[in-house]
């Protein structure tokens, strides 16, 4: 087990590449095969992940609501979500007659593909990263902004007034909250001096930013969690689907597999924002280190880096889930008030503080 975890991802990738290059003479074929391998392995990771998140959400909700949750299919109901997926797969995918069929079918794909693209620069463990590009943080915030178009498209093309209202709401919401997310990410970028994910993780070798950065980083972490909950359209910011108001908002008309895609995208997004929060504020795969306590740091290093990463990510996921099962939903104007009157000014001032802190070197 330990041996397996110490094999770095890049060495596996190089091994596969040399083997493929050896067997196939054609350079193009090698590239295509590698792309296919990367895509399939990502899918093989994502689908079980989404199953787990779906199961986790149900169980968390159930325990908070003094229920048992799914407990029929599989041990402790763990296969319930698989059964549900099979049900969704077998269901008829309805397309409303009056809808714009091309866009109606395109929208869920855009949403899913976008959320998968954002996975690229995330470091899952030590040396385990799909694409360590130099502007990782900027890439994440840029690519995730495409998702809103998928939602707008879904709402528009459904030929349904509820969908349209939901799409309008989510458009206003995502565009606004992107600012706060961006600003809270920037505060870490300022402290690190790099947009590269691996640099950001390495900079937390002697302590995570949430501890090193005093109160300003704590504030930006809180703002990040709130604003990214809004970014991924989860309660209490789920105005785009707002069951009690708009029945299901932008995906009212979707059924079967197309609906499942929205669900898939929601869980991938949930994982992605939590992973980014964990990477930027809680040190990603970096074990818990305290300054110069060598012995303590050494013990912490024994815990595999992937465990650290997933532990932190799921802690954030749990918080976001608890939000969903605790709070009432905001109204559309209050949503924008929260962003423009509270989160944005605070995070702007906060960035100023962080900058001063970074220049003066007041962090550890």
């Amino acid at each position: 087990m330990a041996l397996f975890l110490t094999i770095s991802f890049s060495s596996i990738a190089t091994g596969i590449h040399t083997w493929l290059a050896g067997t196939m003479q054609n350079e193009m074929l090698v590239k295509i095969t590698e792309m296919a391998i990367a895509g399939i392995s990502l899918l093989l990771f994502l689908v079980p992940l989404c199953f787990f998140l779906g199961y986790m959400e149900r169980k968390v909700a159930a325990f908070m609501q003094i229920r048992l949750g799914p407990n029929r299919v599989g041990p402790k109901g763990s296969l319930q979500i698989v059964a549900d997926t099979i049900k969704l797969l077998l269901k008829e995918g309805l397309t409303p007659t009056a809808s714009d069929k091309f866009l109606f079918n395109l929208a869920p794909m855009i949403v899913v593909v976008t959320s998968m693209l954002v996975m690229a620069p995330i470091a899952f463990a030590k040396d385990f990263q799909i694409w360590d590009l130099s502007i990782g943080v900027l890439y994440v915030s840029s690519v995730s902004s495409i998702a809103v178009i998928g939602i707008l498209m879904a709402g528009w093309s459904s030929y349904n007034k509820y969908s349209l209202l939901g799409a309008m709401r989510s458009g206003a919401q995502i565009v606004s909250y992107e600012l706060s997310v961006g600003l809270s990410l920037i505060s870490i970028v300022i402290l690190t001096g790099s947009l590269r994910m691996s640099d950001i993780v390495m900079s937390q070798e002697n302590g995570w930013w949430i501890f090193k950065g005093h109160i300003p980083v704590l504030i930006s972490f809180v703002i990040f969690v709130i604003a990214s909950t809004a970014e991924i359209n989860r309660a209490p910011f789920d105005l785009a689907e707002a069951e009690q108001e708009l029945t299901a908002g932008f995906h009212t008309e979707y059924s079967g597999m197309k609906f499942a895609m929205f669900l898939l995208a929601e869980y991938i997004n949930l994982f992605v924002v939590s992973a980014i929060g964990a990477t930027l504020f809680l040190g990603g795969w970096m074990p818990f280190h305290i300054g110069h306590w060598e012995a303590f740091n050494h013990i912490m290093d024994f815990i595999p880096s992937s465990l650290w990463f997933f532990g932190k990510t799921f802690a954030i996921i749990f918080i976001i889930m608890q939000f969903r099962w605790t709070f009432p939903r905001l109204r559309v104007d209050q949503l924008l008030t929260l962003e423009w009157k509270y989160l944005l000014p605070i995070s702007m001032v906060n960035v100023l503080f962080v900058t001063v802190m970074a220049i003066m070197g007041w962090h550890f």
């Binding site: 908070m64 003094i66 939000f323």
Partner: protein, 158 residues
């Protein structure tokens, strides 16, 4: 003081949100509070209240005797026409003819469990049973005959 109000609002709001999260967090960490009754699994231990109104039944004793005289008080008392009693004239040992029930038809599908028939019955012939799993695939099965075949009126019940 605008700024003071601003921060006091934030402080109070965050406080109230954390209070809410404390409640859900408490229940998340205390699985003993779970209220779910796993219904089909707890059938063996499930105890219905003795007054629970499940369906109308006519108790018979070991001699296959019931207490229904066929007075039709229940049929009149029923608001929905759930009960239909078909009577016959039975020859008594002393040569007199006496009214007795032939079939006591009970339409469970029409019954609202209002208990009017049971209170109307002068001879306590019918009562409410505690069964509650009434679903069937064919609704004709819900039309029941309450008196057992070959049953007789109990001695001494007028």
């Amino acid at each position: 003081m605008f700024l003071k109000d601003y921060f006091v609002t934030i402080y109070k709001s965050v406080g109230s949100l954390l209070k809410g999260m404390k409640v859900t967090g408490y229940y998340f960490t205390h699985p003993k509070e779970i209220q779910t009754q796993e219904y089909p699994d707890n059938r063996a231990t499930l105890q219905m209240f003795d007054r629970f109104k499940g369906e109308v039944v006519m108790p018979h004793d070991e001699n296959n005797e019931h207490r229904c005289t066929g007075c039709q008080a229940c049929e009149i008392a029923c608001p929905n026409g759930t009960i239909k009693i078909i009577t016959k004239q039975e020859l008594q040992p002393d040569g007199k003819k006496k009214k007795a029930i032939d079939t006591f038809v009970y339409h469970l599908e029409l019954c609202t469990m209002c208990n009017m028939c049971v209170t109307a019955c002068p001879s306590d012939a019918i009562k409410m049973a505690q069964t509650f799993e009434h679903s069937v695939y064919d609704k004709r099965q819900l039309k029941k005959v309450l008196n057992a075949p070959g049953s007789k009126l109990m001695e001494g019940v007028e």
